[in-house]
Amino acid sequence: MEEDQGLFADRPEWADVVPIEQYEGAPPIAPIFYTPEYKDATNYFRGIIKTGEKSPRVLDLTENVIRQNPAHYSAWQYRYKTLIALNAPLDAELELMDELAVTYLKTYQVWHYRRLLVQQTNNPEPELAFIANALQSDAKNYHTWSYRQWILAHFNDDALWRGELAFVEHMLDSDLRNNSAWHHRFFVVFQSGVREGDEDRDVVLRRELTVVKTKIAIAPSNASAWNYLRGMLDHSKTPYSTLRSFVAPYSVPHPEQHEAPLEMLWTLRIPSHHQGLNYHASQQLNSWRISMKPPVEMI
């Protein structure tokens, strides 16, 4: 991390750069009352852009701007161009990003920038461990999971895929209701091609059925698991009716729909946290025979 060296305006090594103030024409909408440090750094940044300089000190400057404002799109963009122009070591840059990504987990720029870097290094392998680590501080972070899916799909390397199912299991073990992990499982098993050892799709389907049934038994009101089950049945074009005996214990007969086909009936029963809200809705939804009566929790 850069040490605090005070304002750029006070640093002799920056004396040759002409800082440029932000231009204000019409009275600005929502002007931000910048701190002196931010004004100083961005004045020098505008000065650098004007001359087009791409040098090691630009990396210091852009890091400074980014730390004060991680959403500063242009600072990220210009930093990337400078790195490439300097042929700078990208592994060191990724290390810095390991720190910034976790600090600014919800900033789009952090992740976009990281994609650009990894496409340059062409070395996705360390990324999976980095992501696993980032997920420890926020197990459902959308950017982090999308980034993992992108790494896997973009590089599509057998070695990368090999540990994914175990990783998902690990994530589900710590939170059975983590929908991001369920989604990732679907992505890995059904959406991204056939992995080595998974060529027999019937075997895969049976394995997944066992997994999801077991997890439903532990937490019957877990909507993520039911959605996964529906998803895999849809994907493999397996009729819902084949699961009649499994679903029946979790269902109650719909008062007016004794004759309803099972496809319709068993939609339903799912998440108990919806209880209460949905009486009116369930009346309304009758046309689809969706009953929202909660099932009995088994734990």
Partner: protein
Amino acid sequence: MDSLPPLATGAHATHCERCLLGLPSSQVDIDPSKMALAFYCLGSLDLTSQFANESTKAQNKEGWRQWIWEQQIKGPCGTGFRPGNYMSTSGEDTNYSESSENSPHIILTYTALLSLAILRDDFSQLDRPGIIKVLRACQNEDGSFSSEPYGGDADVRTTYCAFVISSMLDDWSGIRLESALRFIAGLQSKCPLMSRSYEGGYGQVPFAEAAGGPTYCALASIYLAGKGSCLTDRERKQTIRWLTQNQVSPGGYCGRTNKEADACYCFWCGASLLVRLNETLIAAFVP
């Protein structure tokens, strides 16, 4: 349910007006999306009837319009609106800039056009052909749109904004529609790159988890393009099922399965249901 306290309309309006006057240094990360903040504030002021009853000074409105127009910027790839003047160094670059650090942005072009409409602008200064050109420059090979002609993140938010802009200008020539739709929905072709998820919602990028915001963007895009009929009945029902399942006690919506409810997802999920023309369904949820 206990009756809710009345909405503090006046206080909300005052808050928005105050934001338009200035923000503290802690809000510095708003700078690269200033135009979006303007849109939210102006929209709230309009919704709370601050413009209709003349309580907002004409002078303010004129100043806001001027500032927004100042962000319309031309470049080699076309014309659009930039986030604000945070990278601006002189009056000259308000007309033309070749710098990728000072370029038009699709999402903020969308919010600028809507803000100008809220301010009842006549759009005589709008460079229509330039905007269509910039959309063309932003569309990628996979059908998605980058937020800027020189790159930037690409996801269904940008697609939605490109579609709304085309719809507002009544000119779709800036979009390769088929590949844009394929990016969102796969649409009957067995396309590996699509944002629709097995849950029935849509993810922000292909393969990502179904979430409320992207689902609204995806559905609204499909319907704005007049391609609603491309979704099968089964897909439609699956989406409605997922959306309604996202409503949790005591009434709010969550954006993803098994997450907490949040005000913004009441908008995204509620609006998604409206897009699917299911007003009666929503009505059923209103206590």
